[in-house]
Symmetry: C2
DNA sequence: TGTATCCGATACAGTCATGTATCCAAACCG
DNA sequence: CGGTTTGGATACATGACTGTATCGGATACA
């Protein structure tokens, strides 16, 4: 198994996964037939079954890939924030960091909001798939929480709710707000303001 | 069209809808075939197509029914709360009211959490279906918000976020928390504590 | 340059869901 | 009590997806 071949294989895998994600968002995981996925990727079913055992395995692969991406882009984005930046006050810095997190990792772009919803429900029905999804979400949350808490303590700010609940609250709110924007066709980005309100309410600034 | 016949018809419609809801939760809206729904309801496809034009219309009917139910049970539950009850302090009363709302109407029971997620995604793909779903959610939110705001002002309490955002935040959080309980198999009810934390953080008691 | 291997295409058989068209039984009405 | 209407069952034709088994071409390697 030379590197060249392996590369080619990886390329078709990637194309299949990319096509799958688009279709998962557009038509749902279940409704997206293997054939459709292949067609969109420019292959036939032969390629699919040569690369994946089933649609479930493809989903697993997608989630795994997504998990790594999430960690990488998040770390990257966080690293790009200047240590004690241009921001005026404590809250601004916390907010900035959180916005970065959500922009970078927690995928509020249309496709991912939909796919996330899809995969959550999918995982309910595919027990073999559930652990992978939960693990990815856990790791992402952990990472985000660490970044936020670090900023908070450095700034001497505290929270009005337990730290561990901060991410669930914000994450759930943002995703839902984004979903509403998608469904109602309202201008996107309103979730940012909502998030800011929420944060102003939850963070206690140092005296 | 005598009343008797109409009654019978309504009965089979109800059975079909009930069966559909169970299957929607278990296997998703798309995966639940018309045949399966009929089978579970004790009919054949003939009955289905005699009563509904398509699965989409069935979904519409379910949402409509759900909307009415939601309003009724919510009003009922709210009415059952003693005006200025047994509760010790302001926050308790607000919290109690909100818990009642979520218990009664916002369907944190397993089936409805799943179905809600299903229908949201379904509505993304069935534009004809979307308005109905959004309208139901809007009405329910409105109702809940009115009840909460009334209690707040009566008690002289205020919020740290705009009133209009209170429901989205709480609703999204509770639904997500409940979903997590379902997926992880963790003991149910944790969302209540989370909700209480959230509320304590968001409500400002009168001086 | 010839040969083995790898990878994706093609062909095929089987399953399942859909929607319609027809049929039968029971309830209703005169 | 007999005809008519209503509601649901049955039968059928069709189409789509799945998974496998086989084939062919390109690539790597000797």
């Amino acid at each position: 198994m030379s590197a060249e071949v392996s590369t080619r294989r990886q390329l078709t895998r990637d194309r299949l996964m990319a096509a799958a994600m688009v279709l998962f968002a557009e038509r749902s995981v279940q409704a997206a037939s293997v054939e459709e996925i292949c067609e969109r990727a420019g292959f036939t079913r032969g390629a699919f079954y040569s690369n994946f055992e089933s649609k479930e395995e493809l989903c697993l692969e997608i989630v795994r890939q997504r998990g790594e991406q999430l960690v990488l882009t998040t770390q990257e984005a966080l690293a790009a924030i200047p240590e004690a930046g241009l921001t005026q006050n404590t809250l601004d810095e916390v907010l900035a960091k959180i916005l970065v997190l959500f922009d970078a990792g927690f995928s509020l772009d249309e496709h991912w909001v939909l796919i996330r919803g899809e995969l959550r429900l999918y995982s309910y029905r595919m027990p073999g798939f559930r652990p992978a999804l939960l693990e990815v979400e856990r790791r992402a949350t952990e990472l985000a929480l660490a970044a936020i808490s670090e900023t908070l303590t450095r700034q001497g700010a505290t929270l009005r709710i337990p730290l561990a609940e901060l991410m669930p609250v914000m994450d759930a709110y943002c995703e839902r707000a984004r979903m509403n924007e998608i469904l109602t066709g309202s201008p996107i980005g309103g979730w940012r303001q909502g998030l800011e309100h929420l944060l102003r309410a939850l963070v206690v600034l140092p005296a």
